[in-house]
């Protein structure tokens, strides 16, 4: 599937669950947009895996450094949507 449609927090919730699983002490359906990934139980490898999943699903290329240094879902989504909008999708 290749689409330039903007990625939402709900898309990210689904992809996090599928690619990296879910910490038992965290409510991923809660208000997480500004919660740090470390507090959500995701480390840099989990973000790398999530980034890889999005690259395959959206046919987009993400900068590894930007993906793993995004501290919150809001910042992560900004990295993804910037790439989608700038047409780096193949």
């Amino acid at each position: 599937m290749t689409t330039n449609e903007e990625m939402t927090i709900d898309d990210l919730r689904r992809i996090l669950r599928e690619s990296a699983g879910e910490d038992e002490d965290v409510d991923l359906d809660g208000d997480i947009i500004d919660v740090e990934f470390a507090d959500l139980g995701y480390d840099s490898i989990a973000l790398l895996e999530t980034g890889g999943y999005i690259e395959r699903e959206r046919g987009v290329s993400l900068d590894e450094e930007s993906v793993t240094s995004a501290e919150t879902p809001r910042k992560f989504l900004a990295v993804v949507n910037d790439s989608l909008n700038s047409g780096t999708g193949q």
Partner: protein, 404 residues
């Protein structure tokens, strides 16, 4: 500093029992976990028997965060660790994070995880390789994941010396306790069964090609044709006696009182193999005489030449037939880095319950001159137990356990 190293917790995932008490009960019943390998279709392969851990549903044991990141071997290791800590009543968050370390044995790492990712790379391209491959395949993965999950940031490492590694890891744990650590999680869980792994093991030349589970892994038997590989192992919580007392540990299974490792001479040499020296040095290290040893858990290679070397070393040190010898691993297969830790667990449970578990499927060949505990368990007061393990490539290790 000469801290006494005591085992305060055990966690077991074995081919004949998931959980310590399940394993021990099956072992005393003489129940084997060796059967035709079910994990993948081995028709067309030269070997097809294995000891697989039964009924392991990872979702019941680990949070979903850890599942996509880990090989089955690591999932079993994390499960065994959680059980061992629970058995020891250790709550890591209550203890000094730098006082706790992790030292496990491994021979393969997350082999199956690695195979799956290589398959993805070939068939779908490198974009499809999991980021977790960076750690999941690696020998040190179990040590690392245990350390991260339980917040243990003290001295940690991994020992890779094939089947001898499980004893070498426990000895390294004792060294760290002597240098001042409070608690080390040790032992090992090993042995993945994917096609790549099985073929890699087969090229080692020691797997039996028998297809009859009851006549496959038969150490010290004239019919010996090699060994059956198995998966699983045991995790041990090892503490200095002082810190166990300080935190009020509910029990101690026994002390790691002696250890030695030796290396064999080069192949073709007429010098003696290193096993006898390993036994003697381990006894001296524990300040125990041969006459005081109550039971030997043999390496039990299942290869006629190697069985003879072991039986000869035992006769040289103890005299013919003068100490009970057993090999409960005839019910699990050889578990590589997990094998010796499982034997340590069995030896400690022998002390607890006053019973020596049996060796199964073996009719002792008279030329070996050992007192093999065969078929059914034997009641005995066990105060000291010697556990032997040899690793392919020349490794010999021995651990002497003493009741506390």
């Amino acid at each position: 500093m000469n801290a006494t190293a005591v085992v305060t917790g055990l966690g077991v995932t074995a081919p004949n029992g998931l959980g310590m008490e399940e394993y021990w009960a099956a072992t005393l019943r003489g129940e084997s976990g060796i059967d035709r390998l079910a994990h993948f279709d081995t028709s067309g392969y030269p070997v097809g028997l294995a000891g697989e851990v039964p009924g392991f549903d990872v979702r019941k044991h680990l949070p979903s965060r850890l599942i996509p990141a880990t090989d089955r071997t690591t999932q079993l290791a994390l499960t065994a660790t959680a059980w061992a800590l629970e058995d020891a009543k250790v709550v890591p968050a209550d203890l000094d994070e730098f006082g706790m370390g992790v030292t496990t044995a491994a021979t393969a790492g997350g082999f199956e995880f690695g195979q799956q990712q290589l398959e993805k790379m070939w068939s779908e391209g490198n974009q499809h390789v999991s980021a977790y491959q960076s750690i999941a395949w690696f020998y040190a993965v179990n040590t690392g994941q245990i350390s991260i999950r339980h917040g243990m940031r003290g001295p940690s490492g991994v020992l890779v010396s094939e089947q001898a590694g499980g004893l070498d890891a426990v000895a390294q744990a004792r060294r760290q306790l002597r240098k001042g650590s409070d608690l080390i999680v040790s032992g090992g869980v090993d042995g993945p069964f994917c096609s790549w792994s099985l073929i890699s093991q087969w090229t080692g030349g020691r797997l039996t090609e028998s297809s009859d589970p009851g006549h496959a892994y038969q150490p010290f038997d004239e019919a010996a044709t090699g060994y059956v590989p198995g998966e699983g192992g045991a995790i041990l919580v090892i503490e200095s006696a002082d810190s166990a007392r300080r935190r009020g540990a509910p029990k101690s299974y026994g002390e790691v009182a002696g250890y030695a490792a030796t290396f064999d001479p080069r192949p073709g040499s007429d010098r003696e193999p290193g096993l006898r020296r390993a036994i003697e040095i381990a006894l001296a290290d524990a300040d125990v005489s041969a006459a005081d040893v109550d039971v030997v858990f043999a390496d039990a290679a299942g290869d006629p030449a190697l069985d003879l070397i072991e039986a000869t070393a035992l006769v040289d040190v103890f005299g013919p037939g003068s100490v009970p010898v057993t090999a409960p691993k005839t019910m699990t297969g050889r578990l590589y880095g997990g094998g010796a830790p499982l034997d340590l667990a069995a030896a400690l449970l022998s002390m607890r319950d006053g019973v020596i578990p049996p060796t199964v499927h073996v009719a002792l060949a008279p030329r070996y001159e050992i007192d093999l505990v065969s078929g059914t368990p034997r009641g005995a007061s066990v105060r000291t137990a010697l556990v032997l393990a040899r690793g392919q490539g020349g490794f010999n290790s021995a651990v002497l356990l003493r009741a506390t």
